[in-house]
Symmetry: D2
Subunit: 265 residues, 4 copies
Amino acid sequence: MTTKHKTIRTEIGWSDSTSITLFGKDFPSEILGHLNLGDMGFLELTGRIPNPAESRMFNAMVVTLVEHGITPSSIVARMTYMGAPESLQGAVAAGLNGLGTVFVGSIEGTAKMLTEAMPRPDGQTDYKTIASSTVDAFGSRKQIVPGIGHPLHKPIDPRTPRLFALARETGFDGPYLRLMEAVSDEAARRSGKVLPVNATGAIGALCCEMKFDWKICRGLGVMARAVGLVGHILEESRNPMSGEIWRLVDERATQHFREPSPAKN
Amino acid sequence: MTTKHKTIRTEIGWSDSTSITLFGKDFPSEILGHLNLGDMGFLELTGRIPNPAESRMFNAMVVTLVEHGITPSSIVARMTYMGAPESLQGAVAAGLNGLGTVFVGSIEGTAKMLTEAMPRPDGQTDYKTIASSTVDAFGSRKQIVPGIGHPLHKPIDPRTPRLFALARETGFDGPYLRLMEAVSDEAARRSGKVLPVNATGAIGALCCEMKFDWKICRGLGVMARAVGLVGHILEESRNPMSGEIWRLVDERATQHFREPSPAKN
Amino acid sequence: MTTKHKTIRTEIGWSDSTSITLFGKDFPSEILGHLNLGDMGFLELTGRIPNPAESRMFNAMVVTLVEHGITPSSIVARMTYMGAPESLQGAVAAGLNGLGTVFVGSIEGTAKMLTEAMPRPDGQTDYKTIASSTVDAFGSRKQIVPGIGHPLHKPIDPRTPRLFALARETGFDGPYLRLMEAVSDEAARRSGKVLPVNATGAIGALCCEMKFDWKICRGLGVMARAVGLVGHILEESRNPMSGEIWRLVDERATQHFREPSPAKN
Amino acid sequence: MTTKHKTIRTEIGWSDSTSITLFGKDFPSEILGHLNLGDMGFLELTGRIPNPAESRMFNAMVVTLVEHGITPSSIVARMTYMGAPESLQGAVAAGLNGLGTVFVGSIEGTAKMLTEAMPRPDGQTDYKTIASSTVDAFGSRKQIVPGIGHPLHKPIDPRTPRLFALARETGFDGPYLRLMEAVSDEAARRSGKVLPVNATGAIGALCCEMKFDWKICRGLGVMARAVGLVGHILEESRNPMSGEIWRLVDERATQHFREPSPAKN
């Protein structure tokens, strides 16, 4: 390690014997009882208290990401709880570990794509042209365009029109949503498939409208899913499925050992 | 493994091509845009949408647990992010792993203590007597009474009067809060120390008022802290302190190797 | 936080520009190429290099815990990798999170039971009598006696005779193994069931023979399983099963939503 | 999710009432007592038991990665244990989460670089030319060449000559080590700095000699560090430093709140 000394400094907050200050606010009198949990998330990401439109839109974005029923992350949390029921926090932590590039990463991917594609304020904003070169660029890198299409929800993701309606209502229906729609149209036109904007695509575009750095967008999914995983662990504690999942997977995965193939002669 | 087959079944929800149903509600039309993130947490824990008083009280409870500035869990999340900046979810997961018996566990401990001590509805409710035997029981087991006193906040935890005021406002100012105050008074009387109800004590008592199973109370802390840890990782990405913490700890921890004690002759 | 300053100090080791010292040894010349990975684990737990008998016995103990095929922890690691293939470390971390009281905890439970039951060196060592009161104590607390019986391996756990043979060969066939066998015999006699010492029971007893603190015994399982989980992730990367597990669990868990029960009339 | 059924199948192993088979071997009689923990890691990665040279070399590689004294991962494990001492596995899991691209990832980066740069068996093997274009490629992508240089160990990493000597002794001193040295020489020549092969560079090259897929190389670091983190948790349980680290970091990070800058007038 080098000997160069650097600063250790937080602007988030501090406490003394009689007060707690967070983001420049007196926590008991200015935050507690005034902000809901989603507002608190907005405060963590921006350093300021959301106005009513921001509160409404941001809460909808994170609420969308809380609960998707049976998913790899909820199965992981349940099976971890089976082995360590004394450690609820470990089961949530295990479930969050899988929120990487494949699932929640598509929010980040969308926000990065739109951030990089969006022209400067004084530039041309022919979204159709921008979308075309964006889809080209993904194609040339053999990457999938993020934020469009859904393996189950067809022809549309039922969350997207609702999120777009909330965006219109709260004034977040801006250029990034237009560009996202143009990307979706262009990708669909080329592929001949139905590829509408999905929920993570809508949320990625809304993150851009809210001026969040794309590098932190995965954080919306992580904070939201922590809420949902607690619900799965509660259900698992009352009506467990982990033991049966184990039995089922083990039985199938080792069946070829148990039932050797018949002789070939 | 045994061969006894058991059920794999969730009541949380499911999706098909055109709909998403969670806790018996149509997600896009009945939840999205209607509930905030805290309400969604309440829904996960109870299976029903909170009424306005429940929403207000529950959001205040979890908001209290989001952010405590520099803590072991925020240091852990930051230092994990230093090594794996591509894995924001891993840094949050690492931070949550420390929310065990010592910190967030005191909510659970309080809720368990109050649940077990509270008499049946038709029983005597002389809180002073119940508190006395509760404090006795902890003393005889050489355990610390949870939910009272604070190493920094003296003479009172500034969050507690605010949480109690919100409880009065929302109608959750019930028998468990009375019993918690009686326990605090009794412990203080015996020890001669100032041992007021702290924030986790207030939240533990409020969990009882909301009829949450004490086994899931740690979940409030886990879901809340996930929100706060994302904020710490964002700050770390912009103004890192982890490298300097490493340097500082290493320097101190190995100083005795570097500067051997003077010769004894 | 209090203002009382405490020491930050490690005895494990340190480096300077030309040397690395670990546990008082010059790492490149005295450890590297001389110790195997299990020996390194022994060094971490005891601060000293194992002699040949200790090396042989300790390596056998941890090797026993590396790989159990399809288990909750290997399913968890695989399903986490599915979502975050860029984060192999997160998949291993998730899998380790489930090594709590239910599975690996039985080593710890066995070691604690034997440590507390074993009389002082100058005391009576009538193992049958000690075993009888130990089984009594567990029964009166309605706890299961750890380290005996196995849901699958009947009538004996095939690892136990091998571990006991290695103990005889290496000179670790001492009083804790005798006591463990007496506990097994006593529990079997009372229940009328076949309850032989299982692998975690043997390893817990061997931890006592090696004078490990029972509080760290879980660590043997954790270090060993980390090795095995890497193997499962490698197999998952080549021939994935996680997607199919997800599909299967989701299908079963939500079947009741899809196929409503017939009308009751 | 799609309805396409896929296979759930493991080749790792299975058990029945009287036997345990792993990687085609009878575990009690063919593995237990014959393999050490590092050999078991080799078996997990290759599916076969190492020969004596492979055992010696592979054990040295992973032993190198077990323990680096005070590091971000050991600080993380210790601070997690402070909050959840009942969950040793959670503390190890937290510590492993930071073994990402920045630290252990350099093994992977080295192995990937060498794998991609190495010509076909029948091609030219002018390592100097290959090294030159490799360093060019990293430069043009503004990436750091992995596996060379060290912030502390100067002029050489003391582990590297020892690992290279073991490679010669065991017959793993092949083309990937030659290429790694050529890359180091070329990078040093251009930069004018001392940039010798460091320990992760040597291990990355040895992974190539052993024909491990570069995608799994991070796994060597993960399995090894799990062993070391148990040692740190043991020391933390006996002589804790976490509380003092917390106090120290909090004091520094919030000092600017406590001691406002003097008035500017």
